[in-house]
Amino acid sequence: MSTLKPFLIRTLQLLLVLWAVVTILFLMFRLMPGNPLAAYIDPTFTAEQQEALIRQFGLDKPLWQQYFTYLGNLLQGELGDSFRYRTPVAERILLLLPNTLILTFSSLIVAYTFGILAGAWLAWKRNSRFEAAALPAVLATRAMPEFWLGMVLLAIFSFSLGWFPAGGTRSAGTSYDSLWQLYTSANFLSHLFLPMMTLAIYSQGLPLLLMRSNMLDVMKEDFVTMAKIKGLSPSAVVIRHGARNALLPVMTSFAIAVGYQLQGNVVVESVFSWPGLGRELVNAVAASDYPLAQGAFLMIAIVVITMNLIADLLYTFLDPRISHA
């Protein structure tokens, strides 16, 4: 009972935010300069043909009518057709979404696992020479632009050493029976490695520094002192009581990081020719493929908002003080 109500409230909030995003997207693309049909209409069409097309797309109707048509279509999962591919946007997006999600989550999981462990370790090694060397190194990785880091990794591990392929998700000519087989194949994973590492190296700084400072605070708490007075083993003191509490804010940052990561994907996917939503978005905008760009934006927004919801719910699960508030 008590856990269901906050869940419902959060879900309602999510829908509200989603509606706002959808509305902004709708207006944003209407406010863009140029006729949205410019890319679609062949210059050889006659004026009558062009008007017929405009009517066919409903672009002659007032804005509010267009808005409701748009909302109605969205509810049915109808995102329109891509100008460039002449295929439904929804289909295209669903095809690319898994690539983006795999890249985003694998890199974040690597970044957070490493960051949390290293952050806790650094807090433990407070005031040591190791810390003095490690902190600037972490800050340096944080400061490197991800496209630059991606290119450096490409130059070293792909072009010089030839350990990893330079781009794409699989070698030309390979085919797999199912998506599952593709995603678990060595071929796919070796393609994934460099872009994943680029994003992971770029994003491990946040959880690392956050974890470290949280740990330093938590280790001063009374319950940690008590754990020592109880004679619990150092690992129980540091991990069970220290790290477990220091982890809470790091988990929240995970959801925020997903948002940032999707943003980072736009760049990294382009560098590694990774067929994901971010790269598609860049291409769509460049080609004035408004329906596709709009769809890609929407999808990214949905992922970010959903992750925030998950983080909220996870937090209630991780911190008992929240669930009963």
């Binding site: 009374d222 002192t225 008590m226 020592k228 007075i229 109880k230 004679g231 083993s233 509490n245 009963h324």
Partner: protein
């Protein structure tokens, strides 16, 4: 007289602050007889909490035990290796902290935190530990149905009771209680003290009760050690301390607190001034600057802790005149004149 469980001799503990040392406890000596509650009383910063924590050997990073011995059950706690000390922690010496709210880990259920100690330190199995947790909750008067609660769902009094249950979990020989009731209101204070007293008698526990509140001492402690500015100034049984104190500071402390037992005169007389700076302590008696009876001798020569009467230790040059001084000390004007 009961066998001595803990015997502290010449214990000094210093904090390193910047390049200087603050000697928080300086040459303290006292005994804890088996099966008694010994009060450790004094104002903030007198070193009582530092001393209590030293018994667990979990002290601040910048603190160090600077000499002296803590003979506990045949072993010197100050000289034990970290490994041997850790074996002793909680099994033989447990601790009740002042703030039970922050001493319980907020993310675990109370039951888990009790079971943790029973399993990790007591070697119990889970089922056995569960049963013991229920028993402990019943002992301290909390409904065992609340075991599955999180600490934040407990009231202040319940948390303190849970902290006591936790401290008793492994049947320790010595329980060190650091201001266990200070954060609670008077009604709950009394309930908790009664509970603690009852359990202490029932289990034959030895307890060190750190407090700044002389009414708590009067209510529960068999013996009392009075500390001032890092020094033990008086040490005797509580009745003697309350009725025939030998040290002017003890006389002053008594005036400064309301009496829990009787209505009293209702007049509270504070001791004016504040304790000396421990970075650079005065050369004579540390209380001299606030003492209405201080002489030149007091200001220049530090009095040693001596047995002025049988089983009554005091560090005062004028202890022999105590009977007269006590009468003068009862007059609030005696204390008002001191700056």
């Amino acid at each position: 007289m009961a066998e001595t469980l803990l015997s502290i001799r010449d214990l000094s503990i210093a904090y390193e602050v910047g390049s200087k040392d603050v000697v928080a406890v300086s040459g303290a000596s006292f005994d804890v007889p088996q099966g008694t509650i010994v009060g450790l009383v004094g104002e903030s910063g007198c070193g009582k909490t530092t001393m209590a924590r030293a018994l667990t050997r979990v002290i601040a990073d910048n603190a160090r035990i600077d000499g002296g011995a803590m003979q506990f059950d045949g072993q010197d706690l100050a000289a034990l290796s970290e490994r041997d000390m850790n074996a002793l922690r909680w099994r033989d010496i447990s601790f009740i902290p002042q703030s039970a709210m922050n001493s319980l880990d907020p993310v675990y259920r109370v039951e888990y935190q009790i079971i943790e100690v029973l399993r990790d330190r007591g070697g119990m199995r889970k089922a056995q530990a569960r049963a013991r947790a229920v028993e402990l909750f019943e002992m301290v008067g909390i409904d065992p149905g609340r075991l599955r609660d999180f600490p934040h769902q407990f009231s202040g009094g319940m948390r303190q009771r849970a902290a006591i249950a936790l401290a008793l979990a492994l049947n320790p020989k010595l329980v060190v209680a650091d201001e266990p009731v200070t954060a609670l209101d008077v009604i709950i204070q009394r309930q908790i003290l009664d509970q603690l007293r009852g359990l202490q008698r029932e289990l034959g526990l030895s307890v060190i009760m750190v407090t700044h509140d002389i009414s708590v001492v009067a209510y529960i402690c068999d013996r009392t050690v009075v500390m001032y500015a890092g020094k033990v100034v008086e040490n005797c049984d509580t009745a003697t301390l309350l009725n025939e104190p030998l040290h002017p500071y003890s006389m002053g402390l008594k005036n400064a607190f309301p009496d829990l037992q009787s209505a009293g005169t209702g007049v509270l007389t504070p001791i004016a001034g504040s304790p000396p700076d421990l970075i650079d302590p005065p050369k004579g008696c540390r209380f001299a600057a606030r003492c209405p009876f201080a002489t030149d001798l007091c200001r220049n020569t530090e009095p040693a802790l001596t047995e002025a009467a049988p089983d009554h230790h005091v560090a005062c040059h004028r202890a022999s005149e105590a009977a007269v001084l006590r009468e003068t000390a009862k007059d609030p004007a005696t204390w008002g004149a001191v700056t």
